[in-house]
Amino acid sequence: MTEELLTATELSRVHHGRGGRQRVALHPLSVALRRGESTAVVGGSGSGKSSLVRLLLGLDTPSTGTVTTGDGLPVTDRRWLRRTGVVLQDPATSLDPRMRVGRIVAEPLRGFRIRGDHDAAARSMLDRLGLPGDAADRYPHEFSGGQRQRIAIARALVHEPEVLVADEPLSALDVTVRARILTLLRELVAERGLTLLLVSHDLGIVQRVSERVLVLDDGRLVEDGTAQQVLSSPRSAAARRLVDAAPRLG
């Protein structure tokens, strides 16, 4: 039996603008994420992918519905946060410019009061992401955009979370770096049983790390199936558009 890690019930988000205008970012949807099942949320710009993820992480308050963890904890509970790692879009802006990279990466270890050699753990994770040996001793501004993105990924993984939520983590990376990080994520999913919730519009990435695909279109969940089924015989128009548009090598 698969254990449900996170359950969203009738979750929706409506933004209220001036003069009573409303914009629906997410129409009511229910979805459960299961332990060890790597799931992708796909869709074009403005389809509601990031809105859904923000709600699932408790970073935004739903207009209707609830999100609960398998243990019945609220998603803002420390015990749940300890088990999750998060990489949001544009992580470069989330690195404190006054802190050395080693300290930034070790932040979750301090925050969750995890025992052990924090500095060594941070250095080892930076190394796994292919950053130079002295990266831990330098400051964020000394790194390129792609390297800063990798620093943010290192911080999200350093406390060995069970769940990694990543919003377009690879899109700003150079292809060779992208291949390397993709390989690392595949290893973590296959060997450590990491549950990956990936937000992406890039089907090349999705097909390689995700078993299940949720397709969003205009704030609605229009398809939910195995990656194999959704990518090879998409039923929704939105999934077909993504499949047709994906750049191919041959």
């Binding site: 074009g44 710009s45 403005g46 390129s144 792609g146 690879l170 700003a172 150079d174 292809v175 060779t176 770096v177 992208r178 291949a179 993709l182 390989t183 519009h201 890039d202 089907l203 090349g204 990435i205 097909q207 390689r208 194999q228 990518l231 090879s232 558009r241 993504l242 499949v243 047709d244 548009a245 994906a246 750049p247 191919r248 090598l249 041959g250």
Partner: protein
């Protein structure tokens, strides 16, 4: 096909603060050709593009030659560069959000090149803006030109940038990763637009990217850059099927690992 017309970059070297960033780069884009520059971060591809338009820091040490229709641009007076830059050669950058002025209407930004280079009047400018907005596929072009950049989506803003580059009727378009910041559906539409403009306007392009799957749709031949040197040059299909240099092989292998393969199980 000689160096008489079009762009011929030969032996271009660029040093900044004593560091040699470009080392003898040769690239040629003849009339109507679609050429790619491909390489990883820091390989010098964007730098090459910027050098063509003289958009480098003033303390950059330059060597070699950049000829446009046989005229040397390297060290050319500002008056010559001003005619070529944004006139005969247009540019489209990666991030449309920062390339556009947030405080000016889209129409004014689209026609800036035409007003500067061809002395188009106000009424003419508006008609031109609407026509260009239509050509690049902006929805409701007559309304779109009165909007501000923040009212448009990322893909629409990139179309605005392309329209603005077209307004002075350039013969060569320099494109610096113009689809990297876009989602794949919009990326595909913008690549299709650039291909169409190549056919309908006879526009040549020099397209910078790190993604071979994108390159395949944007260029017919390409030079592979590594650490400021051209390590390989050839038809794009050949670079994909039988790359010779280690750099091209690494790019191809990385692209194979990450690109959509059509859903093969």
């Amino acid at each position: 096909m000689s160096g008489a017309t079009g762009l011929v970059v030969s032996g271009l070297t660029i040093g900044i603060n004593g560091e040699r960033l470009l080392d003898g780069v040769d690239v040629a884009v003849a009339e109507g050709q679609r050429v790619g520059l491909v390489g990883g971060s820091g390989s010098g591809k964007s730098l090459t593009l910027r050098a063509v338009l003289g958009l480098l820091p003033s303390h950059a040490a330059l060597g070699g030659s950049i000829r446009w229709d046989g005229v040397e641009l390297l060290g050319a007076p500002e008056r010559v560069l001003a005619r070529v830059r944004g006139g005969e050669i247009g540019i489209v950058l990666q991030d449309p959000a920062t390339a556009l002025d947030p405080l000016r209407r889209v129409g004014a930004q689209i026609t800036e090149g035409a007003r500067r280079h061809h002395r188009v009047g106000r009424a003419g400018a508006r008609a031109l803006a609407v026509r260009l907005a239509e050509e690049v596929g902006l929805p409701s072009p007559a309304d779109a030109v009165d909007r501000y950049p923040h009212e448009l989506s990322g893909g629409q803003r990139q179309r605005v940038q392309i329209a603005a580059a077209l307004s002075a009727e350039p013969r060569l378009l320099l494109a610096d990763e113009p689809t990297t910041a876009l989602d794949t559906v919009v990326q595909s539409q913008v690549l299709e637009l650039l291909a169409r403009l190549g056919r309908t306007r006879g526009l040549s392009t020099l397209f910078v990217t790190h993604d071979l799957a994108v390159l395949r749709r944007a260029a017919d031949s390409a030079s592979v850059l590594d650490a400021g040197r051209v390590v390989e040059h050839g038809p794009v299909e050949r670079l994909l099927t039988s790359p010779v240099s280690a750099t091209a092989r690494a790019l191809r292998d990385a692209a194979r690992l990450t690109s959509w393969d059509g859903g093969r199980p």
